[in-house]
């Protein structure tokens, strides 16, 4: 039976509807996870206490923000304890998990797309091990163990090393002609190099310092603050629309360099831009959180399986999935062995690895 044009357009709009529904379900899931997350944690707040404190604190802070924008001075708000717990401890952490998960997933999607490799992610390319190396240099050689999470130097060094790694990978690959397999190989080389440097530095550090480095490498949302959230959100909010706008270029690059060129993509320049964008997004997140793995790998895969490979939808949707995974994992971290909190990087690995294997073993088909 031959497919008529009516069948074709009908089926095509069914696919579009499916993508939209996936989108809406992901957004709904995020809202639920955030609403659950706000009620979790220390402070002995009931669910109702949490929500009323969230509501009560909203207007004063909004007017405070407006007056800060207008006059430059922050009007002090008087808060009771539940309000402080919600607004100064829980909320920015939840939002940070959302934004960081979103960003890591998008960075992974971009890298997998331009490198045409389902295993490409900021982590397999060595960017995160470079960030760890930068952090350990700061912790051991310069800073000492105190104030690790709040230490500006650690953040800056982690960011700088992450960017340096992607620059090195990029120039090496560029020198060799910049095809996707040479980029991956360069990434693996970089990963081992920075891991070795990190180990060496740890070896010369004190045991406290080594412990601080290890803790940093777990990846954690413990140290989030409103200003950190603001920085990460600003970077992602600026770069994401550009990526979505250029989604056709990602679609084309996923077909191979030559085909991408033949349908009008200036391949080298476009790859450079996308490499830069995904590196900056990754670096700015993990500089604050430490190594949070598997989001950038798993989220794009789940999304590909659900809605296919059109990056116009894949990029934002996998961002939402990544946000849901990181927030869900962090919610678990804060409840599993309450009152202790497990670093979220450990949890994402525990959730991610079996899930990843399951995807491969069950289907042998992960959308690639």
């Amino acid at each position: 039976m031959a497919l008529t044009i009516e069948d074709f357009t009908r089926e095509y709009s069914r696919i579009k509807t499916k993508r939209l529904s996936f989108f809406l379900v992901a957004v709904a899931l995020l809202i639920v996870l955030a609403m659950v997350g706000i009620t979790l944690g220390s402070g002995n707040l009931s669910i109702m206490d949490s929500y009323s404190a969230l509501w009560k604190g909203f207007m004063p802070r909004l007017s405070g923000l407006i007056s800060w924008i207008l006059t430059g001075s922050w009007a002090e708000t008087v808060s009771d304890t539940p309000e402080i717990v919600i607004w100064d401890i829980r909320l920015h952490r939840i939002l940070f998990a959302l934004v960081a998960g979103f960003g890591l997933a998008i960075a992974g999607t971009i890298m997998q797309g331009i490198l045409r490799n389902p295993l490409a992610s900021p982590f397999t390319l060595g960017i995160s091990s470079a960030a760890s190396c930068g952090a350990s240099v700061a912790i051991i050689l310069f800073a000492g163990v105190t104030l690790v999470s709040g230490n500006l130097l650690v953040v800056l060094m982690a960011f700088a090393f992450a960017m340096m790694a992607s620059f090195i990978i990029y120039s090496m690959a560029r020198h060799k002609g910049l095809n996707s397999s040479s980029l991956i190989l360069a990434g693996i080389a970089i990963m081992y190099l920075f891991s070795a440097i990190t180990s060496l530095i740890q070896y010369f550090g004190s045991s406290d310092q080594a412990a601080a480095v290890v803790y940093w490498m777990f990846g954690s949302l413990e140290g989030t603050t409103w200003p950190k959230l603001f920085i990460v959100t600003a970077v992602i909010a600026i770069l994401t629309p550009y990526v979505i706008m250029r989604a056709w270029d990602l679609n084309a690059l996923a077909e191979g360099d030559e085909i991408a060129k033949s349908i009008g993509v200036p391949v080298e320049r476009t790859m450079t831009v996308f490499m830069m964008i995904s590196s900056v997004i990754t670096a700015v997140i993990i500089a604050f959180t430490g190594t949070i793995g598997f989001i950038g790998l798993v989220a794009p895969h789940i999304t590909r399986m659900a809605i296919g490979n059109d990056h116009r939808w894949l990029v934002p949707a996998s961002g939402l999935v990544g946000a849901a995974i990181l927030l869900g994992a962090d919610n678990l971290c804060r409840t599993l062995i309450y009152p202790s909190v497990i670093p979220v990087g450990i949890m994402t690995a525990f959730l991610g690895v079996p899930f990843f294997l399951y995807l491969f073993l069950r289907r042998g088909d992960t959308g690639w």
Partner: protein, 262 residues
């Protein structure tokens, strides 16, 4: 009217010349066959014409040097059907074909894009696979999907790199018919590299014959496909019969190497 002109083109890969000093041209609405043994530079030539590789010498498209054109402008003039499909590709058939609309799309696809994709699928007989994944298709089906994509790109020039090499006889002829029809009905210039000399003889207006990176012959099938030329280029003894208007080549046996190398 000359649409593609190749002037004194040379390409060197890792210090080894792939071809050198090649000149020929293709006219509007012409099917031009590129033939020659394996490794004689056909694929490289096609990539140079599309500006994917950067040779010495000059390729002009509608009078403009290809090196002076922006990629998007090239994509509006030339569509390219590669010989093989890259690994790791998993898109759905209609999305792969829709990619050919990219030079005209901003972000959203419209009903007319969908219509064009459908008609191209229909033309190549792949409409029933529209929602299947590329990697579920046979090699021949993929080949036809790639040609459909070139068609929706709506360019005045289409380059096809051995589009028939993995197809059965019927599909080979169908692809050549499509190429012929594009040339005759839409005045598209089709440059097509082929291994099958009889397909070249039957469907091409003119033929460029390569031998070891040099141009060995350029002209109509009758001018180029002669027994002596085939023996020199391919090292085989062949007999030429006539079938209607075109020569028909029957390979007989390989000749000993000594005779081909003078």
């Amino acid at each position: 009217m000359v649409v593609v002109s190749v002037n004194d083109l040379s390409y060197t890969y890792r210090k080894k010349p792939v071809f050198s000093g090649i000149s020929f041209e293709a006219a509007e609405g012409e099917v031009l066959g590129l033939v020659g043994p394996n490794g004689s530079g056909k694929t490289t030539m096609i990539k140079c014409i599309d500006g994917i590789l950067h040779p010495q010498g000059e390729v002009r498209v509608f009078g403009d040097p290809i090196s002076s054109l922006h990629r998007m402008e090239i994509a509006r003039r030339i569509a390219y059907v590669p010989q093989s499909f890259p690994e790791g590709l998993s898109s759905v058939v209609f999305e792969t074909i829709m990619m050919g609309r990219r030079p005209y799309l901003n972000w959203q696809t419209g009903p007319e894009d969908e219509e064009k994709v459908y008609h191209a699928m229909k033309m190549l007989g792949v409409e029933d696979f529209a929602f299947r994944k590329i990697k579920e298709l046979s090699v021949g089906e993929r080949q036809r999907v790639m040609i459909a994509r070139a068609i929706v790109q709506e360019t005045p020039i289409i380059l096809m790199d051995e589009p028939t090499s993995s197809l059965d006889v019927r599909h080979q002829m169908e692809v050549m018919e499509v190429a012929r029809n594009l040339a005759v009905e839409k005045n598209i210039t089709v440059l097509i590299s082929l291994h099958d000399l009889n397909l070249a003889a039957r469907y091409c207006d003119r033929i460029v014959m390569f031998k070891e990176g040099a141009l060995y012959g350029f002209g109509t099938p009758d001018e180029v496909l002669r027994e002596d030329v085939i023996e020199q280029v391919y090292g085989i003894e062949a007999r030429i019969y006539r079938d209607g208007d075109c020569p028909y080549i029957i390979p007989v046996r390989p000749v000993s190497r000594g005779r081909t190398e003078e």
